[in-house]
Every structure is written in C-alpha cells, then in structure tokens.
Amino acid sequence: MTLLLESLFNGAAIGSVLLIAALGLAIVFGLMGVINLAHGELMMLGAYTTYVVQSFFKLPLLEPLFGGYIFVAVVVAFLVSGLVGLLLERSVIRRLYGRPLETLLATWGVSLILQQFVRTVPLAWSTGLWLAAMVALAGPLVGNRLWGLRQRPWLLRLGSWVVAAAVGVAAAGWIRGAMPKLARASARNVDVTAPRWLRGGLDLGDWTLPIPRLVIIGLTILAVVAVYWFLNRSLWGLRIRAVTQNRTMSDCLGIPTQTVDALTFGVGSGLAGVAGVAVSLLGSVGPNVGGDYIVGCFMVVVLGGVGNLWGAVVASAGIGVLTDVIGAGRLLEVWPQMPARLQQGVEFFATTSMARVLVFALIVLVLQVRPAGLFPQRGRMAEV
C-alpha cells in the first residue's frame, strides 16, 4: 500500500513539473497550432526571474518578507515571459501563421538568441530592459487619462519612450550598485535560495514528502484551474475558443482576431514563466535549463491530444507514474520472485535515462495505435 502511494506521489511529482511546463505549450500549440521551440527558453527566463526577485528580497528593506518572495516571483515571471512572448508574436510568429515548419525553425532561432542573451547580458541590464519595456507599454494607458496628453499623441508616445528609457537605465544602474551579483554576466549556473519553509520535508510516519515537490504540485493544480477558468469562463477565453474554431466567422462577428492571437501567445508564454519558477526550485538555473524539458512537453501535448487540456493532464500523470515505476524498478519490489530473465530486463531500465528511453519508445508505440493522441478532438477535419 505504501509502495503504491509512494509511486503515485513520485509520479505526481514528475508529472506535475511536466504538466506545468506543458500547459503553456498546450495553449500555444493546441489552440494556435504554433510550434514554439523557444518555450523552454521562456521557462529559463522565468527561472532567472525567480533568481532576480530572490536577490531583491535579500536587500535589508525586504529581508523580513523573504519567505514570501516565491509568490511575487510567480507573478513577475508570468509578466516577464509573457512580455517576451508578446514581442515574439508581434515581430515573428505573426508572419508565419499557417506554416508550422517555418515557425518551428524561427522559434528555434529565437531560443538560441535568448540563450546567448542571458550569457552575455548582465541580469541587471536585462531587468532594466524589462522595466523599460513595461513602462513603455503602460505609459500610453496612463497618459491617455490626462486630457492634455490625449490631444497630442506624438508627445505621449515620445514621452513614454523617454520615461521608459530613463527608468530602465536608472534601475539597471541602481541594481548594479545594490546587488553586485547581478552586475556581471556569466554563463555559469546560479542557485535560487529557497525560503526556510520550503526546505525539508513533511513527516508522515515512516515516510517524508519533500516540500518543494508539494509546492510544485500545488502550483500546477492552481495553474490548471486558472487556465480552465480563463478559457471556459472568461470573455477573452470565449473569444480565443471562437477564433480557434472558426477564424473567419469570428472576424466577421467583430472579434479582434489579431489581438486574440497576441493574447493567446502571451498567456501561453507567461505560463512558461510560471513553470520556470517551479523548475528553479528543483535545481540550479542555467542558460540550458529549458532544453531539458522541451521534448517532454511536446510529448505530453501530442500524447494527450492536441487542443485538449484534460488530455495533457492525463498524459503527464501517466508519463510521470510510468517514469517512476520503470526508473525505480518498482516491479521488482512488487514481484520479487520474477524469472531471472525478466529481472535482468527490469534492472536494465531502472535508471533515470533508461526509463526515459522506454517511456518515449512507449509513447511512439501508443501514437501508432492512436495517431491523434489519447483524446483526439472530434471534428470534420479531414487532415490532422
């Protein structure tokens, strides 16, 4: 019984990381049909954001609140990755709708650029750049309320750019002074210090649950509920679904399809940022951290059935449990007297990397039987 529970928990732990990473992809790939290979790098940005936010909370002024920085990090990471995703959609993806293979190559190029960006640009300057972009975006919204500015749009535009640049440079300069660790660029990995309540484990008699894993599971559940609510209960979610089903008809009915595209991509990218926060709790953060997850994410989405949120949930849970069962050689514990030949086989696959080999091979086999995933969308589409 304990064995079953342990396996379920470990499976949930592995699966929840996969799911939270794949959630944004399920939206971008599932609803828009865009292959975003830069998704892993958007996660990486989220993880670095956690590091920067944590550095802020180490300043004397915010030190007492250190325990709660993770909640701030989730919000900021969503905004950072979401903004980058928005810019990506506006500048590149927009030109490539309907040409998925080209999108794939373009986003791979973007991912290379992002990787090298965090290696060469100090975090202080990246933070300043992000602040400047936020101010430049928010400037017109605020300025529009002032009558004098509303009459002169060119002044408003110019003013918000000037203010944004000033804010960015000032912030970067101040961060360089206040947090010397962020002043120099480096290709080396950084470590996020978890607050005290996040370390250690929860004792359950003879068995302890690691708290970071629990937090990630909680964060994943929260994210899934939020996405479900957003897509099915909110006005913009309704519009997104309408555009997915029939773009031309939605356009005729007055839905701003271009805004919907940008928003969908932005939300998907923002979720990648949230996943980045989760990833930063598990290990050190480096420029290559995204690459470890990207293929797994695609497998979750493809296996679950493209455009199907619950499919992604089931698929990630399944992959998680299977990885644990195979990787830890659980069959041996359940059935100690198995034939020697079988035992050799089980032991052969009982490492993390070999478990991944077998799981991916199984996924490819499942896709042989059900090419459109476990839960295919029903429709009149002749070609998937």
Binding site: G109, L112, S353, F360
Partner: protein, 380 residues
C-alpha cells in the same frame, strides 16, 4: 521542367569548371595547414548529411529533426571497427578495447562481433542507419503522421537514442564515446596528417559520388517526380492511385544511409564519436545548413553546410560570444525573408529584384511566362 540530364560531349566551360575543382581538391593539402584541412574535410562530410536532409525536406517536405541518430550510428560503426582492430592500443583483459576493462566487462557484447570484419563495417555504416531510418519511417508514415508531428516524433526518437547511448557504459562507453585518432587503418595512424589528407580526398570523392547519385534520382526521374508530388500535394497523389508510404520510407532510408556515411567520415576525421552527435541542437543545426544554402537545390544544401560551418569556426575563433546570435539570426532570416535560401534567391531572380528596388531597373529579356517553366527544383 527543363531537361537537365548531362549531355555528351560536355561543354568546354563545364570541363574547365570540373578540372579546376579537381585541381583545387588535389592541391588543397599543400595550400592550407593540416588543421584547416582537417576542418575542411569534416565540413565536407557534413555536406553529405545535408544532401540527405535536402532530399527529405527540400524535395519531399519531411522535416526531420533526428538525422543525428543516423549520423551517429554511422560514426559508431566506424569507431567500433577501428577500436577492435587496433593492435597497438592498450588492451583490457581478453584483448577487448581498453574501456571495457574500466567497467569490468569480460566478454565482447554480441553486436560488436561482426565489426571485426572491414567488409561488414563498410556495408554497415550506411546500411544499418538506412534500415533504422526505414523502420522508423515506415512506422510513422504508415499512420499518415506528417508535418510537425513527424518533426516532433523524430526529435523524440533522437532523445531515445541519445539517452540510450549516453547511459550504456558497458556496451559502448556511454558519455565518453569511442576515440579513433590513435587507432590504425591500413597500417597508418588515423590521427596522422598523411592519413587525414587521404581521408580528405576520400570525403571529397564520396561527396561528389553521393551528389551525382542524388541528382540522378531526383532530377528528371520518376522517383523524383513522386517526391515532389508528395511535397506539393500528398492528398492528390493518393487520389491518383499512388501510395506515398513506400516513397517516403525509401527516401527517408536513403537520407539515413547518407547520414551514416557522413557520420563515419566525420568520426574518423574528428577522432571521436560520442552521444553528443545525437544532441538535439546539432540535428536542428543540420536543417539550417540546408535552409540557408537553398532547399530543393542539391548543391545549395552542400554549399550551405560547408560555408556555414566554416563561418562558424572562423567567427567562434574571433568572437566566441556572437556565434549563437548569428545562428539564431540566420534561422529568422531564412524563415521570414529568404525562403528559398541563397541559391534559391539567385534562381528566382533575387539580384534583379534587389537592383530594381535600388532604382536600377533592367528589362526582362524573355517573355515573362517562360520564367514559370523552370521551378526551384530545376538544377543546372
């Protein structure tokens, strides 16, 4: 399509061109340093894998992100043979290659045995990858999986192979890979300058032969027409009574075989084969060589592989920080503005359009409709 089959007797300009090419290849070893020659030879072998990618992507429309599998399989085949037949290398117990001793392996794994034979190895380095590619391709194509799903599946397959080779120390030395530069081939040390020069010539010869083979296959032949039809409208081809699966499987196996040859040549020239050959970024990089050179033009893909890799090594030597920016920029450039690649841009009249945009209008010398007759697949 214009008739592009080689005519006889050839034009004197062509003879001159080929003669100059031959003279250049023969003279290069005495013109550049052994280090540069070695790099050039490696890049020339990468041109062969680019050729295969051009066949499946440029002509058939299948974007594979897993060519690294077949590339590495070819490399491992060559390295296993060299490791087994190295009489001067230090040995573990039982005459096994040295690394087996580190993991306490007493008996040679069964799949190593046939690699004692040079003839078997020569066949295996292209046949084994081709068979694996054919099997993988058949499984995928039979279910009509295509487009991005095919790309993702090939990447997953790549990950499977990478993890397998990375994790199996006892079978193929895991992460460390197999070294070949201290082994001997035909009595010469593989890493020596003389041997590397011979390998350069061999690579150049094989690059030429594979290019001629692919040209024969895809330009003007029925097979090539079927591939183009699959790329342009598979559903219509199916409706016309053709089954595209065998064609796709065959061309994917062919590309796999080419990748195997390329990997074997690359391994003996770089001195090592390791699971890094199957790292995901490397396989995607291969695609960009083809894209920049010009998909659908065989020599464009080869030139792309050569030029980009040379640029990579030169740029990384001078400014190591910038290469990834340049590479990422190349991806964006090719996808957004330069879709036919550089060669495609020239074939589609890019220079004339550029001049026109700069205010230098030239008159068309032909009737515009004639322009449509030569598509991007015309190779001449």
């Amino acid at each position: 399509m214009a008739d592009t089959r080689s005519r006889w007797p050839p034009r004197w300009s062509q003879v001159l061109l080929w003669g100059m090419g031959l003279a250049l290849v023969l003279a290069l070893p005495s013109l550049v340093s052994p280090f540069r020659l070695n790099l050039l030879g490696r890049y020339l072998s990468l041109a062969i894998v680019a050729l295969g990618i051009d066949l499946i992507w440029g002509y058939t429309g299948l974007l594979s992100l897993g060519q690294g599998i077949f590339f590495a399989l070819g490399g491992y085949g060559a390295a296993m043979h060299l490791q087994l037949n190295c009489h001067s290398c230090s040995r573990a117990a039982g005459g096994l290659p040295e690394f087996f001793g580190l993991y306490g392996v007493q008996q040679l794994p069964w799949f190593w045995e046939p690699f004692h034979s040079p003839w078997f190895t020569l066949v295996a380095i292209w046949l084994a990858p081709a068979l694996v590619a054919g099997l993988l391709g058949f499984l995928v194509f039979r279910n009509r999986i295509k487009g991005v799903y095919f790309s993702i599946l090939t990447q997953a397959a790549l990950l499977v192979f990478f993890n397998f080779f990375n994790g199996q120390q006892k079978l193929i030395n895991g992460t460390n890979g197999l070294k070949t530069d201290l082994t001997r081939l035909l009595g010469m040390m593989v890493g020596s300058d003389a041997m590397q020069r011979n390998l350069f010539w061999l690579t150049a010869l094989l690059a030429l032969l594979t290019w001629l083979l692919c040209r024969r296959l895809v330009v003007g032949g029925r097979f090539g027409h079927a591939l183009l039809a699959i790329r342009d409208d598979e559903a219509r081809l199916r409706c016309l009574g053709y089954n595209p699966t065998p064609f796709k499987t065959m061309v994917f196996a062919l590309a796999g075989g080419l990748a195997g040859i390329s990997g074997a040549l690359y391994t003996v020239q770089s001195g090592i084969v390791s699971p890094q050959f199957m790292a995901a970024p490397f396989s995607i990089e291969m695609v960009i060589w083809v894209a920049v050179g010009g998909r659908g033009t065989l020599w464009g893909a080869m030139a792309g592989a050569l030029v980009i890799n040379m640029a990579k090594s030169l740029v990384s030597e001078a400014w190591p920080q910038t290469w990834l920016f340049i590479q990422g920029g190349l991806f964006l450039l090719v996808v957004t503005t330069l879709q036919g690649g550089v060669v495609g841009w020239f074939q589609e009249g890019g220079p004339r359009r550029l001049l026109a945009r700069l205010g230098w209008r030239t008159r068309l010398s032909t009737y515009p409709a004639l322009e449509l007759e030569t598509g991007p697949e015309g190779e001449d």
